[in-house]
């Protein structure tokens, strides 16, 4: 299956940038989380699914909710030394913003089994965007390395 994200070269020389797509908000959030994982892990498929984390977040817009969601993954990486991807996610619009409930699965970092690339320090707001496209949704994200 074609990956629902691609890395882009011509933004912020020292950092990493990607675009991710999805037919629905659930899909684009899942794709962006997968891209974030691929920045840190050379072979994302080597990540097991023994750790589980439930995340509930609210924000003023779908775009800022995506920012908070990716930032949560970066936070958990440092707090628990765990890399995670989306197992199930439900993003819902509300009257005053957006809310998500996600079950994340993954594994604690293991240098013997995981070939790690670079650490992500933060999700930046530089050219950060979540927009509607004819086929659904597209996100653009620059992360600080």
């Amino acid at each position: 299956m074609k990956r629902p994200y691609r890395f882009i070269d011509d933004i912020a020389t020292a950092d990493a940038a990607f675009e991710a797509w999805g037919a629905t908000l659930d899909d684009v959030f899942t794709a962006a989380a997968e891209a974030l994982l691929a920045v840190m892990l050379v072979h994302p498929r080597t990540l097991g699914s023994v750790e589980r984390e439930v995340v509930i977040l609210e924000a003023e817009s779908a775009e800022m909710l995506l920012f908070d969601f990716l930032q949560e993954l970066v936070f958990l990486k440092d707090r628990d030394q765990v890399l995670l991807r989306t197992n199930t996610i439900e993003v819902a619009a509300r009257k005053d913003g957006c809310r998500l409930e996600a079950v994340l699965i993954g594994e604690r970092l293991d240098y013997a089994r995981h070939e790690l690339a670079v650490d992500v320090k933060a999700v930046t707001m530089h050219r950060f965007k979540l927009s509607r496209t004819p086929n659904g949704w597209e996100a653009r994200v620059v992360v600080d390395i």
Binding site: F7, D9, D10, I11, A12, T13, A14, D15, A16, M40, V42, E60, M64, F67, D68, Q71, V74, F75, K77, D78, R79, Q81, V82, L83, L109, Y111, E115, L116, A117, V118, D119, K121, A122, V123, T124, M125, H126, R127, F128, V142, D144, I145
Partner: protein
């Protein structure tokens, strides 16, 4: 490639971006670089410099150092001084890795003495200084103790035996940013960072063993003041910051400022990464106090790593670190905002100087540096790529034009992905071993991204800083051992 037509050349290494470049610029931009370096800068630098020049309260110029490149928000290498009464503070003008910085220590060993021990020395440093994605530190401390670290910085470490008293005097701010307030920091930031003291991290963070070749001592007298007076002298240099803690502090406040800057303060910016609030506001002051906590975390981090380095040298050379001459030369920050007195148009003013990927470079005679250095000026540590070399520079009086700021490294010229396509980690390891550079890296992929050719030529960057009269070279260091995350 930067469009030179947008710039006015003021001198051989000074280019001005006029306020007419973009509507809303309050001051001109200034790039300190040779023609070759300016040509190699991407257009993003000019755009970002223009965006910085639009920030409320900016004084005189938005500056870009010779190693400048396209970053997020500010360009990397960006310097902006704000009027603290009318101006703003912006987390994007400091960077996520608050107080990312460099530390340099001498030894009294020469290259021939170290060479036979080099592989073991590098291996032991690699084993004992944690590095890489999500690495954990080796200091066990409670959350309450961590709060003390946030307010006391490297002083906390030295009081507990992690380092020497004189290390503090040879650290910017004496190792403790005054005014840090742990109450302004979120519980999440503490949770994220409290187990990371004494860790290098990854990316361009590293620890290097280097040697001073006799032909690379450009000012022997000043070098001697800094303890660099032996032929083929071996030194240790490392680069790291405030780790996940600082990243979270920056993220928390950036996130909050994006939300409130418009509704609460009527501020707009062209790039949300430049989200800011008035420095004089409660929110601005809180961020300043929280940022200082992250500065202190970084000072503590580098202090504990310094202690580890001494332990490893003692183990490998079977001598006391003091007998090995493991003296700290200096510790500098390159991602901060500081309140400093400066003279602007003949008037003494206190300014809030944002430096993102730029190093403070105080001139001879200024205070806020060790008394023994005041005659020659503040040391500036410039980290180059693992294949090229690094420099020790010193501040000079004409640095006033950049609010006494200069470069911080080589500056990337190739994106990480481009570098990975072009270089192979394993091949690089071999090439460097052939040249006598012993490297240990946590990730080969990350190593490839750090290839020397992915960076600008460090000699060109230092020459531009010198030609622009914002700092001058004292010593050049050649790498012989490197550990990377």
């Amino acid at each position: 490639m930067a469009d030179l037509r947008a710039l006015i050349r003021r001198s051989a290494a000074l280019w001005e971006l006029p306020v007419s470049y973009r509507e809303g610029m309050r001051v001109p931009g200034r790039i300190y670089a040779t023609e070759m370096l300016v040509r190699a800068m991407d257009d993003g630098v000019l755009e970002q410099l223009a965006n910085v020049a639009m920030l409320p309260g900016i004084v005189k110029y938005a500056c870009c150092m010779p190693d400048g490149h396209w970053g997020y928000g500010f360009p990397i290498g960006g310097v902006a001084a704000m009027d603290p009464r009318r101006g703003v503070i912006s987390p994007g003008g400091i960077g996520f890795d608050i107080n990312c910085g460099m530390r340099l220590a001498t030894t009294n060993l020469d290259y021939d003495e170290v060479k036979p021990h080099l592989p073991r020395l590098v291996d032991r440093l690699f084993a004992r200084v944690p590095s890489g994605v999500g690495c954990k530190g080796f200091i066990d401390l409670s959350r309450n103790e961590f709060m003390d670290v946030l307010e006391q910085g490297a002083r906390w470490c030295v009081a507990r035996g992690y380092g020497w008293q004189e290390d503090l005097a040879r650290t910017e701010d004496n190792g403790c940013a005054a005014g840090a307030d742990a109450a302004t920091v979120s519980p999440r930031a503490i949770e994220r960072g409290f187990n990371q003291i004494g860790t290098l991290g990854s990316g361009n963070h590293y620890l290097e063993i280097q040697v001073v070749r006799p032909e690379h001592r450009f000012d022997a007298e000043t070098a001697a003041v800094f303890g660099l007076d032996r032929p083929e002298q071996v030194v240790v240099m490392f680069h790291c910051g405030s780790r996940g803690f600082g990243h979270q502090v920056a993220t928390d406040y950036l996130r909050a400022f994006v939300k409130i800057m418009g509704p609460q303060f009527g501020l707009t910016v062209r790039d949300r990464e430049l989200a800011c609030v008035p420095f004089a506001s409660r929110e601005g002051r809180n961020y300043f106090a929280a940022m200082k906590c992250a500065m202190n975390m970084a000072y503590a981090n580098r202090q504990v790593i310094m202690h580890r380095i001494r332990e490893v040298f003692a183990e490998v050379f079977k001598k006391d670190p003091a007998d090995l001459g493991l003296q700290q030369v200096y510790d500098v920050c390159h991602n901060t905002a500081k309140l400093e007195p400066h003279t602007v148009d003949g008037r003494r003013r206190e300014l809030l100087v944002h430096r993102k990927g730029a190093t403070r470079a105080f001139a001879p005679g200024m205070t806020d540096m060790p008394p023994s250095y005041r005659r020659v000026g503040q040391p500036v540590i410039i980290g180059g790529s693992m294949q090229s070399g690094s420099y020790l520079l010193v501040g000079m009086a004409s640095g006033e034009q950049t609010f006494f700021s200069t470069a911080h490294g080589s500056g990337r010229r190739m994106s990480r992905r481009q570098a990975r396509k072009r270089f192979q980690g394993r091949k690089l390891l071999k090439e460097m071993a052939h040249r006598g550079i012993h490297v240990r890296a946590r990730s080969l992929k990350s190593l490839a991204e750090e290839a020397g050719e992915a960076y600008k030529n460090i000699d060109d960057v230092v020459a531009a800083a010198s030609e622009g009269a914002i700092s001058r070279p004292v010593v050049r260091f050649t790498p012989i051992g490197n550990i990377k995350g």
